[in-house]
């Protein structure tokens, strides 16, 4: 903090040097003038002295009174300004002298710096009677040494010095006192008052600063009072505006929240309303595959299945994109095996690759656990792999992962998906990550899709602190690179984590499953799927019936729809869990819902569900979730 200094002291320091120089110059000039004045005065005094003594000296010469001449010379010499006197007769003979008589050489020049001042008084006889001509008797020469003037200047200098010192000291004391009293104190008080100025308190009663004089400080105080009043008024006005804006913003925020809520509800409802029939469509298509079909019918069925799948992908993409853009995507940070994640994602596309006659290669040269959101990584990889499969008619699809570098607990991993597909031109490469953009219009016509997949991939990658980019050569294939930073987990990868999915896939234990579903088509489709999977199924059309059936016992697993009449899935679960609290035991319950909005899964898991399936679901998805829940219960 800068040290506070006294204004009077600073002014003193600022002015004192100049004042000192000026004082010295003025004093020197004054002393010079004083010296010249003293020399002039001495000269005048010598003239007057000569005029006074000349009659007596003349008379003494005239009367040859040597004694008187000596006395007169001595008397003249007693005068303070005279350092020497000589009296000469008319023949130039010195007849009386006293004091220091300088030589003629010393008397050269008669300027104001010469060592002696000289005054010659000619001495004449008196004219006693008419006809008598006065004649020269001689001359009297008076000398005054420069030391006389110097001594007087010394005295004057002392007087001037003492005078100046006293006056200067007095002046500075007065100056200091006045500046301190009339400037420093008011300014300090002013600064304190300004620093303590509370504009809010001034709104109603302005704090006026007081200063009794109408000088510059007074004008400053007046200006500050004016400024304070204006500031208070401005503050009041600002407060009013802020209050108004806050109210407006609160209204706007409420409206936005309402709109967002409405949008969320709309999306949820849309998702639910579209997924529910789509679930029925896809379920029935799956069931149809188990019936005897002609080749033409199979072809139609594949078209329906593909259309349903595409429609589901479009719905999912739109939901994802809207969630990402709304900033509602919350990434998980959980330990996972990246190599397993890659293998799993790759495995999900191997069937499609095989169907297209493509060769594939998965080289995830990574081990250990990383901390991140493996579902989102898997989503990105599935998208990239799906695109690779989609745009590759022959050749190889390769998934590679390498560790670019790590530092302490941070690692950067690059995952690359390469294909030998159609590739794309440079111009298309630049826009491929833009929403609703594909390589060209023909691509859309030929391969379908919404053009949202890569946009979602890029946004997810950026959300994870990474990046995604593509390299491609038209006709030779494309490479999509995903670079993601992960935290390195301190835990060691367990065999279970390595082979969990494999265990789930291999688990096909026949179960007695209670299905609570109000939609008869979905109920029927799910029933047939589960029976095809070898499970025994009991159906209930609402939650109450489901609870009643469960109370009868013998149910291994419950698939509970959330939105049901009379008693919804959550209420039914609560009833079941409440009873289990009393009787003991635990029946796994998997929530079925067409609400695929982010957070639904977490909310339902928090309610007590053991698993979650978003409608529409495919056979293998259902199987996988059932296996996961069952395996989890077995382990616990």
């Amino acid at each position: 903090m800068q040290r506070l200094t006294n204004l009077a002291g600073r002014l003193f320091k600022l002015v004192f040097g100049w004042y000192l120089v000026l004082a010295i110059v003025v004093t020197c000039v004054q002393l010079g003038l004083e010296y010249a004045s003293i020399r002039s005065t001495i000269s005048s005094d010598m003239v007057a002295l000569g005029r006074s003594f000349s009659p007596g000296v003349s008379d003494a010469i005239w009367t040859y009174d040597r004694t008187l001449l000596d006395s007169l010379a001595m008397g003249i010499r007693q005068t303070a300004i005279i350092t020497g006197v000589k009296i000469e007769n008319r023949s130039g003979e010195i007849i009386a002298s006293d004091g220091e008589i300088p030589s003629d050489e010393t008397l050269q020049g008669n300027n104001w710096l010469s060592p002696y001042q000289k005054h010659v008084v000619p001495l004449w006889t008196k004219c006693l009677v008419e006809g008598h001509t006065p004649h020269e008797l001689g001359r009297m020469v008076l000398y005054s040494s420069r030391n006389v003037a110097v001594e007087r200047v010394k005295y004057s200098f002392l007087v001037i010095l003492i005078n100046s010192l006293i006056k200067t000291a007095g002046l500075w004391l007065i100056f200091y006192w006045v500046i301190t009293r009339r400037l420093s104190y008011p300014l300090t008080a002013l600064a304190a008052a300004v620093s303590q100025l509370n504009v809010k308190e001034c709104e109603n009663k302005p704090q006026l600063l007081e200063y009794p004089y109408n000088d510059e400080v007074g004008q400053l105080v007046s200006s500050l009072n004016g400024m304070s009043a204006r500031l208070a008024a401005s503050h009041y006005e600002l407060e009013q505006k802020v209050a108004d804006r806050t109210a407006d913003l609160q209204d706007a925020m409420a409206q936005a929240e309402a709109a967002n809520q409405a949008k969320s509800c709309f999306l949820a409802n849309m998702s639910h309303e579209i997924r529910t029939p789509l679930n029925g469509v896809m379920g029935m298509v799956e069931l149809l595959r188990f019936s005897e079909l002609t080749e033409e019918q199979k072809e139609y069925l594949d078209a329906i299945a593909l259309s349903s799948k595409n429609l589901l992908g479009i719905i999912n993409d739109i939901l994802d994109l809207s969630k990402i853009e709304a900033g509602k995507v919350e990434l998980e940070c959980a330990d996972f095996s990246l190599s397993h994640c890659l293998n799993e994602a790759f495995a999900m596309q191997t069937t499609n690759m095989s169907n297209k006659g493509l060769s594939y290669n998965c080289v995830p040269e990574l081990c250990g656990l990383f901390c991140g959101d493996q579902l989102r990584i898997k989503q990105i990889l599935l998208n990239l792999l799906a695109n690779a499969v989609k745009f590759t008619d022959y050749g190889t699809i390769t998934l590679e992962a390498i560790l670019l570098g790590y530092q302490e607990d941070q690692a950067v991993v690059r995952i690359s998906v390469s294909d030998t597909g159609i590739g794309m031109p440079k111009a298309a490469l630049d826009r491929v990550f833009d929403p609703f953009i594909q390589a060209d219009v023909s691509t859309t016509r030929k391969f379908g899709g919404t053009g949202l997949g890569l946009t979602i991939c890029r946004q997810l990658a950026e959300l994870m602190g990474g990046r995604i980019w593509a390299e491609s050569e038209e006709g030779k294939g494309s490479q999509f690179h995903l670079e993601i930073p992960f935290k390195i987990s301190q835990q060691i990868e367990t065999p279970f984590q390595q082979h969990q999915s494999l265990a789930l896939e291999s688990s096909t234990i026949p179960l007695t499953i209670l299905l609570a579903e109000d939609n008869p088509i979905n109920q029927r489709a799910t029933e047939l799927l589960l029976k095809k999977m070898g499970h025994q199924l009991i159906c209930a059309c609402n939650g109450r019936i489901a609870v009643d059936i469960w109370q009868l016992g013998g149910v291994d697993l419950i698939l509970m729809d959330i939105q049901m009449p009379e008693m919804n899935g959550v209420e039914a679960l609560q009833a079941i869990r409440a009873q289990e609290m009393r009787t003991g035991g635990h029946t796994p319950v998997i929530a079925l819902t067409a609400d695929a909005v982010k957070g639904t899964r977490e909310r339902l898991i928090a309610e007590g569900f053991d698993g979650y399936l978003a409608k529409p679901f495919l056979t293998h998805t259902l199987a996988a979730e059932m296996q996961r829940v069952c395996a989890k219960l077995e382990i616990s």
Partner: protein, 293 residues
């Protein structure tokens, strides 16, 4: 400063007076049983009557006379004190017991002094002028002093307060304001130098006084003198003491000495000292008249 000088001088005079008075008091009152009485002689540098300084010291007529008196009055302890005319006059007026070896009759009477028998014979005061100015004075002899005073082109020099002779003193008093008369308290030496320098045309002084100054200045008899009409041709000087009993007692003793000595040649020659040869004859001629007086 001038006041200071005056004050210093007056202080010196006062101190001197006090010391002198104290000395006289002591010598007069406190006397050892066998000690002689102190006789204080006031002497004045009045060449050539009394010459106190210089080459010609003690060559004056008063010097010879005083020497004789001191020699012949052994019962006194003689003390010689140098004074000015004014100091001597003041001491007499204040009644201090002193004596002086020579004084003219007029001032002695004025001061009411106890005076002795005539001690020395002198010639009259003359008009002294340079020989080269003799033409200014014509051939008149004796000179009519009043006529001389009236001649405005001639500047005469006289000593203020000096008693020359009754007729001269009267004329001086009458013409004292005349611009051609320089009546100042000057010594004979000063006057003579002024005469020599031409500042004065004539002086009134004794002829042996002029002869002494002429001699002292080493001049070759540059002056000449003429008698003043109406002035007695000779006059006497007297030994005088304070005009009290003490003075008169001392004068009696002095008269006794003078009675014994005045007739002696050795004493007579005191009166002739410093007179030009032609005037010495006159002195010798008038001296016996003094003895008979």
């Amino acid at each position: 400063m001038r006041n200071l000088i005056r004050y210093t001088r007056s202080m010196h005079s006062a101190c001197f007076l006090c010391l002198f008075s104290f000395f006289l008091l002591i010598t007069a009152t406190v006397r050892p049983v066998q000690a002689r009485e102190t006789l204080v002689w006031s002497v004045i540098d009045f060449p050539p009557f009394q010459v106190l300084d210089g080459t010609y010291a003690a060559s004056g007529s008063f010097d010879g006379e005083l020497q004789t008196l001191t020699d012949k009055m052994p019962d006194f302890e003689h003390t010689i004190v140098r004074m000015s005319f004014a100091r001597r006059k003041q001491e007499f007026l204040s009644g201090t017991n002193i004596c002086t070896p020579g004084i003219f009759l007029a001032p002695a009477k004025e001061l009411n002094l106890a005076i002795s028998k005539p001690a020395l014979t002198h010639l009259d005061n003359r008009v002294i002028f340079l020989k080269n100015k003799a033409a200014l004075f014509g051939n008149e002899n004796p000179i009519d002093l009043e006529a001389l005073f009236k001649r405005k082109n001639l500047i005469g020099g006289m000593v203020a307060g000096r008693s020359y002779a009754p007729n001269i003193d009267a004329l001086i008093r009458r013409y004292k304001d005349s611009p051609n008369l320089v009546i100042r308290t000057l010594t004979g030496n000063q006057q003579f130098q002024m005469l020599q320098s031409g500042d004065l045309d004539y002086l009134i002084m004794f002829s042996h006084e002029a002869a002494f100054q002429n001699n002292r200045m080493g001049l070759n008899n540059t002056v000449m003198n003429r008698s003043i009409a109406g002035t007695p041709p000779y006059l006497y000087t007297y030994v005088a003491c304070t005009g009290n009993d003490w003075g008169r007692a001392v004068i009696n003793k002095i008269n006794a000495v003078l009675d014994r000595e005045r007739g002696k040649d050795s004493y007579k020659q005191f009166s002739e000292r410093w007179y030009p040869p032609e005037d010495r004859k006159k002195v010798r001629r008038y001296y016996p008249l003094m003895l008979a007086d």
